[in-house]
């Protein structure tokens, strides 16, 4: 004869195998061990059943059942309770578990004690903290609510309807008898609210003031539409479209008013009152929530509404203040002060400045475009003006615009062309590809629909993002490309693709023709550029970037071609000039010295392509013994592919900081880079480089050329990298 545990836990499961063992271990690891756990798998396609079988086999407290076909969330929750109750009908307390949350080892000890000590309570639940997918605590204070000490049924019921947060309470510990009386989940939307509303009529809810439950938080994913899909997997009945507070009120009226289930504690008349009260309170609450949501959405989309919203709120605050007798005295004092006049003058000045800026903007933009070729205008004036401009633009509308674009892509069924990428390699690696990773994951874009367009053959960089890759050099010669790209700079005013120009559009047309695509949609780099410029120009925190990017290792580009006959172990090197490593005799000498020194220890493969594709000029380091040049194998259409293959197979990468050097961390190849002018480095890029290395668990060392002697003095005698150069690639 098996004795019944005091506490039973019903765990409805669906498709969370990856988090299930952690969740189950926390349930079975309770210090209060007099428990029975019923696992009910709703025909998950993943390994949920296998995991449950293993747990049931090794722990006699665990029972497992798998539904023959998917029942949906409501019926599975019902099954979890019913099967647990059938198995252990004597159990006093019941709780629902889940396949992804975590329970503190003392969770049950405290909840059982709370219900034992308070027979008037029907439900006990703890404080909880939200944790992310990796179990990191999220910065939100625990939610507080209970009805302890409220003995009057109507007041307790109303307070509960107004203050409840069903998601935080439904995983509490119930008296089993109460669950039996309220009938588990009914087939309505937001059924947990209904269960809690009914339970509130029978007794108090008590919150234990300790953090004992860790709720996995995947962001605000709640929606009625989503509930309809998960509750009714075999088709949505018409009543699923009835507003939830109406169906809840009707259910309460039938349960308490017609059937009289609550008698004797709740008379039929009181039952009707509870249903009526629920209808109004919950209906008003719902309307209020909808209004708040609408307001947030409106403000997110239309920045012009913000001042009106602010005025309205100030007006409301003013009305409240007027009720205060001191307000009149304060106003009188303000009237005689000069602050008002100063404020008015500053407002006029601001308006005049704005008016002048508006008038000057268009001719000024044309003037700047025509003077773009002048280095000081390109390198100093235009970035300064962009920074000034950014000061006046809040990020909210840009984020909203970007999300609208991505949502439109998500909803459409057309092919999506991402690109064409015409800017620098560095931005492509550091921002564009991580941004695409994020956009695809966040908006669940189907990779089979995506075509990536770039130049120089980096197909492997996009192989995790797109199903097809088209290279611009398949359509243009290098001379055509260079000329057209120069024209694009002139046209849009910047090398960065803040806007799509004629050249971009022409490439898109050619790609569509080549692939026979009709009505393809475009995700242009300008979406990313316009968003992230706030971060680059230090007008937004790094969170803007981390929230909209995902850094992950690049897929392997494959082995180096055999005809290159490269050594087995080699160091890849590429030096070129850029503002942080300008063309000076010292830098030329330095680069040549580095290559020479390296080549004494290891074979060095120089990656310089011998092609002039952007504004960076290659440095031709003279070759010698142990230095391999591969420029003769480089073509415009393959140079990035070949360089990727060589870097991914290298023992280390050494060269100028920026651009291609970010490939090292992506392929987990130790990377040593140089610069000579700190002022030309952008701190935002350095920060992201460091974050990239951390994410890839790799390293990229940046060294100022002037500091090289110090490093040499400090590290002279350190054992070099082991070399096993014995042969060549087959």
């Amino acid at each position: 004869v098996t004795t019944s545990p005091r506490v039973i836990i019903g765990v409805p499961l669906y498709n969370h195998a990856h988090k299930l063992p952690e969740a189950l271990d926390s349930l079975l690891g309770q210090v209060y061990s007099d428990i029975g756990v019923m696992l009910v798998d709703d025909a998950s396609p993943d390994d949920t059943a296998g995991i449950c079988e293993r747990y049931a086999a090794r722990d006699p407290r665990v029972r497992f059942h798998r539904n023959d076909q998917r029942l949906g969330m409501i019926d599975n929750w019902r099954a979890a309770f019913e099967r647990a109750y059938q198995q252990w009908p004597q159990a006093e307390y019941f709780a629902w578990g889940s396949d992804h949350d975590l329970w503190h080892p003392w969770w049950l000890s405290h909840l059982v004690k709370e219900l034992d000590e308070h027979p008037e309570a029907v439900l006990a639940y703890p404080l909880n903290r939200r944790v992310d997918a990796d179990c990191k605590l999220l910065p939100r204070k625990p939610w507080l609510f209970d009805t302890a000490g409220e003995t009057e049924i109507r007041r307790r019921f109303s307070r509960n309807v107004r203050g409840m947060s069903a998601g935080n309470m439904i995983y509490g510990l119930f008296r089993t008898a109460i669950i039996l009386r309220v009938g588990v989940f009914r087939h309505v939307l937001v059924p947990d609210r209904l269960v809690l509303a009914e339970a509130a009529a029978y007794g108090e809810f008590r919150q234990v003031p300790r953090i004992l439950w860790f709720r996995r938080w995947y962001g605000r994913i709640f929606s009625l539409g989503r509930q309809r899909v998960s509750f009714f997997p075999h088709g949505r009945p018409l009543y699923a479209y009835v507003p939830w507070w109406i169906s809840h009120a009707a259910s309460l009226a039938i349960t308490f008013g017609v059937r009289g289930t609550g008698v004797p504690e709740i008379s039929r008349g009181r039952g009707w009152w509870l249903a009526w009260s629920y209808f109004w309170t919950a209906g008003l609450l719902h309307a209020w929530q909808q209004l708040r949501e609408l307001r947030v959405q409106l403000l997110e989309r239309a920045s012009t509404l913000r001042p009106h919203d602010r005025r309205l709120r100030l007006l409301a605050r003013g009305i409240v203040r007027r009720l205060d007798s001191d307000w009149m005295i304060q106003q009188a004092r303000k009237a005689v002060s000069s602050k008002r006049r100063e404020k008015a003058a500053s407002s006029v000045k601001r308006r005049v400045r704005y008016g002048v800026a508006t008038v000057v903007r268009t001719p000024g933009t044309w003037l700047l475009r025509s003077m773009r070729a002048v280095p000081i205008v390109r390198n100093r004036v235009i970035p300064w003006l962009i920074r000034q401009d950014l000061d006046t633009i809040p990020t909210g509308p840009v984020v909203s615009e970007m999300r609208t674009t991505l949502r439109a892509l998500q909803k459409s069924r057309s092919p999506i062309i991402v690109g064409p990428w015409l800017s620098e390699v560095g931005f492509e690696l550091l921002y564009w590809i991580p941004f695409l990773n994020w956009a695809i994951e966040e908006h669940e874009l189907d990779r089979d629909r995506i075509v990536a367009v770039s130049r120089g053959g980096p197909a492997s960089w996009y192989s995790g993002i797109a199903s097809q890759y088209v290279d611009i050099f398949d359509h243009y010669t290098i001379e055509e490309y260079r000329a057209r790209n120069e024209d694009r700079w002139q046209e849009v005013g910047n090398q960065k693709q803040y806007d799509a120009g004629t050249f971009d559009r022409e490439i898109l047309t050619r790609v569509q023709e080549q692939l026979g695509l009709t009505a393809a949609r475009n995700l242009h780099p300008s979406v990313m550029y316009r968003l992230l410029r706030f971060y680059w120009y230090e007008k937004a925190p790094v969170g803007l970037l981390t929230k909209h990017t995902r850094y992950s290792a690049l897929p392997s580009p494959g082995a180096t071609p055999a005809e290159l006959s490269l050594p087995t172990d080699y160091v890849a090197a590429r030096f070129y000039f850029r503002p942080s490593f300008p063309d000076t005799p010292e830098n030329r000498r330095f680069a040549a010295d580095v290559v020479r020194r390296l080549s004494r220890e290891y074979p060095v493969v120089l990656l310089n392509p011998g092609l002039h594709l952007d504004d960076h000029e290659d440095l031709d380091v003279s070759t010698g013994l142990g230095v391999h040049k591969i420029d003769r194998w480089m073509t415009p259409a393959t140079n990035l592919d070949l360089q990727s293959r060589i870097i991914s197979g290298a023992k280390a990468f050494v060269g100028t900081y920026g651009g291609l050097s970010y490939l090292g961390p992506y392929y987990r190849v130790p990377t040593l880079t140089f610069y000579s002018t700190s002022e030309e480095l952008v701190p935002a890029h350095l920060d992201i480089t460091w974050r990239l290395c951390r994410a890839m668990q790799s390293s990229l060392v940046m060294l100022k050329t002037a500091d090289a002697p110090l490093v040499h003095s400090a590290l002279d005698g350190i054992a070099p990298m082991p070399s096993t150069a014995t042969g060549t690639h087959a």
Partner: protein
């Protein structure tokens, strides 16, 4: 420092008064216990927990404490540099630049502390540190404070602070006893078990029995080994040699296992053995503040977290952007110490 100690009569008088001090009396009792324990340990065959070469050398460095004068015991904390590396010299009052760093770090930690967990350095037995707001603060003080905050953020500490039911905590290697002192101050209703090299009880045993003169202490060997945990609720501290951990620590109960900065110095087998003991004793939480591997430790074949992961689900708690031994102005590195809180896995 009192001036009269520098005269023969003054020295005699000071020694006499210190001989009667609580600290020296505690030391004398502890020394006898330690000698008994070391002798008993000498008969034990070498096993997994036998000290490494590193520790054998360290233990020899402070054998002079077996014959410490009352003056030495009165400044016991000055001699704990054998364990912590902290020296009084670095905390002179004219070292204002460093003191500013400490102040800033302390106030950063205070901002993270929502439960009032700060315990300053105990000023007796040579307690030292920068005087910040009238309290002594050194690197150990900040380290232990940070650990308490991490335990609090990880929802562990509350169980030990607000409890009617006595709880039992096991620290693997408590060093000079600084963390047990802080923990016991914050959570009085716990029995604190320390497993360590017996020689180190010269520090921790003396320090704790002097700091908590009313504490009830059970020494390994007072009763047969298998009965060491009998009526554990009646004791404040239970001190056992590290080699006896497997023998002594058994189910049904252990509530928290702690290790700071020593898993990283052990061999893989030693780390695994300690984790397995905690796991077998149903200990729900294991806290670790360690690097993944100490730079010079070649005997740790896997990283600390890889070994612990076999027994516990590990969750990292971040308190400050730098690890405990650094100041706020320093940069974090991938090899920094990590606050890890392990939740027990169910046995496979």
């Amino acid at each position: 420092m009192t001036a009269d100690v520098w005269t023969a009569a003054g020295l005699r008088s000071r020694l006499e008064s210190l001989r009667e001090s609580a600290g020296f009396r505690a030391y004398q009792q502890v020394r006898d216990r330690v000698l008994q324990m070391v002798e008993a340990e000498a008969g034990r065959p070498p096993g997994v927990q036998t000290p490494s070469e590193y520790w054998s050398e360290e233990l020899e460095n402070f054998d002079y404490l077996l014959d410490a004068s009352p003056l030495v015991v009165d400044k016991l904390r000055h001699h704990t540099y054998h364990v912590t590396g902290l020296r009084v010299y670095d905390y002179r009052s004219n070292n204002t630049a460093t003191q500013r760093h400490f102040s800033r770090k302390l106030s950063a930690l205070r901002k993270k502390d929502t439960a009032g967990l700060f315990v300053p350095e105990w000023p007796e037995l040579g307690g030292f540190g920068f005087n910040i707001d009238g309290r002594l603060v050194n690197l150990d003080t900040l380290k232990f404070y940070e650990v308490l905050i991490a335990l609090d953020h990880g929802a562990v500490l509350d169980e030990f602070r607000r409890t009617d039911e006595r709880k039992i905590v096991w620290e693997i290697g408590a060093g000079w006893g600084g963390f047990p002192y802080q923990f016991k101050t914050i959570c009085p209703n716990v029995t604190y078990v320390i497993a360590d090299f017996p020689e180190l009880f010269l520090y921790s045993g003396t320090y704790l029995t002097a700091a908590f003169p009313q504490a009830r202490v059970r020494w390994f060997g007072d009763v047969p080994a298998e009965r060491t945990f009998e009526r554990w609720q009646d004791f404040d501290f239970i001190l056992i040699p590290n080699t006896a951990a497997r023998e002594v620590i058994r189910p049904p109960r252990l509530d928290l296992t702690i290790n700071m900065v020593s898993f990283q110095e052990m061999t893989s087998a030693q780390v695994a053995e300690y984790a397995a003991i905690a796991h077998d004793a149903q200990c729900p939480f294991l806290y670790s503040l360690n690097r993944e591997r100490s730079g010079y430790n070649t005997e740790l074949e896997e990283s600390v977290s890889q070994i612990l992961e076999r027994y516990y689900w590990l969750r990292e708690i971040e308190i400050l952007h730098v690890s405990y031994q650094k100041m706020l102005e320093d940069e974090p590195t991938p090899t920094d110490y990590r606050h890890l809180i392990g939740w027990r896995r169910q046995p496979a």
